[in-house]
């Protein structure tokens, strides 16, 4: 049982780290600000979601598991909103094309 849980954590966290890595590569390599933003928000939300998923079975109590999920939700909320704000600022400056 514990082996299965360990394997699950390892796979989920590994996949999460992969998405973070992909997002970072995109941040460095993509040509313009809007596509960089797009890649970053997508991969970070998914990456963090998978890391949290992998950590859930290791959270000692239901309360700390809940805290992990709330943490993910808060990051989702702020990163999505900030992406909108950065996008709007780019559009205003005419740098989006």
């Amino acid at each position: 049982m514990s082996l299965a849980v360990d394997l699950f954590s390892l796979l989920a966290i590994g996949a999460g780290v992969f998405f973070f890595l992909a997002g970072t590569v995109a941040l460095l390599r993509f040509p313009d600000s809007l596509s960089r933003l797009h890649a970053l928000t997508k991969s970070d939300n998914l990456g963090l979601g998978l890391v949290v998923l992998g950590l859930l079975p290791r959270a000692g109590t239901p309360l700390s598991a809940l805290k992990l999920i709330v943490l993910w939700g808060l990051v989702q909320l702020s990163s999505a909103s900030v992406a909108q704000l950065v996008g709007a600022a780019l559009r205003r400056r005419g740098a989006a094309e």
Partner: protein, 313 residues
């Protein structure tokens, strides 16, 4: 070398590299962004040093609120006319030499610490039971070194007075300028509406658990302050008039309640700033609650800056 050693070394290298980049940055805004990222990395360093209280503090105040303050300051600087002459080479060299001497002395002080380094941690732990607290850091701040903490709060209030005092006479008692444009982005308004209620709960919770776990008045107050800042940025609330009696009362309530409890010490427990046995924890939380209020007001008022509108009727 274990894996953790390698990670720590990499972390230290990134922090140093980012610090150098921040100093070398030409644009003020880039330097501020570098400083905020530096603060967040420093918070991770504190976690690695087993100091979660300091880490929370660094992330919330050192990086978060100071970052907002610096962004606001750089925006204001951008609106000013350019300085007539940039600093000369002599001044730059003098500033660099002074910084190097200070950094060198600090490094020497840390490197020449005896091994094991002197520690008051066992002393702090020994009398923890008497305070009724479970977090030794909170015990040091509010019980063992309470006078220092009270004076720190006075300094924060003085900082607000200092910011207010640069206002022109005709604006005295008026409100600072709004923190955002008249029509804020819809996404910002959405974020402020959703985040602020959650953030208020988290801020109060962080203050409350500070008695036994990492957290406390500073960290909780900083989160509440951030919520007020974001609500003002989204124009859901406006900066208050600085002439408001309630605002001033709430601002000084933290140090004032602290001082009153300290002055009651000789009557209740036999000495200045002493807490009566068995009643220490409620008193400490009582003081902290008012400190949270003071901190949550002080930081946004520093960001909002001096009043720039007439007091009105």
């Amino acid at each position: 070398m274990t894996l953790f050693d390698a990670l720590d070394l990499a972390l230290a290298a990134i922090v140093l590299g980012l610090a150098a980049w921040t100093i070398a940055a030409r644009e003020v805004f880039s330097a501020v962004v570098g400083y905020v990222a530096y603060g967040l990395l420093l918070a991770i360093v504190w976690v690695r040093l087993y100091a979660p209280d300091v880490a929370l503090m660094e992330a919330a105040i050192g990086s978060g609120v100071t970052g907002v303050l610096l962004v606001a300051a750089s925006t204001r600087l951008g609106r000013l006319p350019k300085a007539e002459a940039p600093p000369g080479a002599a001044l730059k060299i003098a500033a660099a030499a002074l910084s190097l001497i200070v950094a060198g002395l600090l490094a020497a002080a840390v490197l020449y610490l005896p091994d094991p380094a002197p520690s008051l941690a066992p002393e702090a732990d020994k009398d923890l039971a008497a305070t009724g607290l479970g977090n030794a850091v909170t015990a040091v701040l509010i019980a063992y070194r309470s006078f220092d903490t009270m004076l720190e709060k006075v300094v924060l209030v003085l900082a607000v007075v200092g910011v207010w005092s640069v206002a022109p006479d005709r604006f005295w008692g008026g409100a600072p300028a709004p923190l955002g444009p008249a029509a804020p982005e819809a996404a910002l308004v959405f974020l402020a509406r959703i985040l602020a209620p959650i953030g208020i709960v988290i801020g109060v919770q962080m203050f409350w658990v500070g008695a036994d776990d990492p957290g406390g008045a500073f960290q909780g107050g900083a989160i509440l302050a951030a919520m007020w800042i974001i609500v003002m940025m989204a124009r859901l609330a406006e900066p208050p008039r600085i002439g408001s009696g309630w605002l001033r009362l709430a601002l000084v309530s933290g140090p004032a309640v602290f001082l009153l409890v300290g002055l009651a010490g000789p009557l209740m427990a036999g000495s200045f700033f002493a807490f009566p046995a068995g009643f220490a924890k409620p008193l400490i939380l009582f003081i902290e609650a008012f400190m949270v209020l003071s901190i949550a007001l002080t930081l946004p008022l520093l960001v909002a800056g001096p009043p720039s509108r007439e007091a009105g009727p």
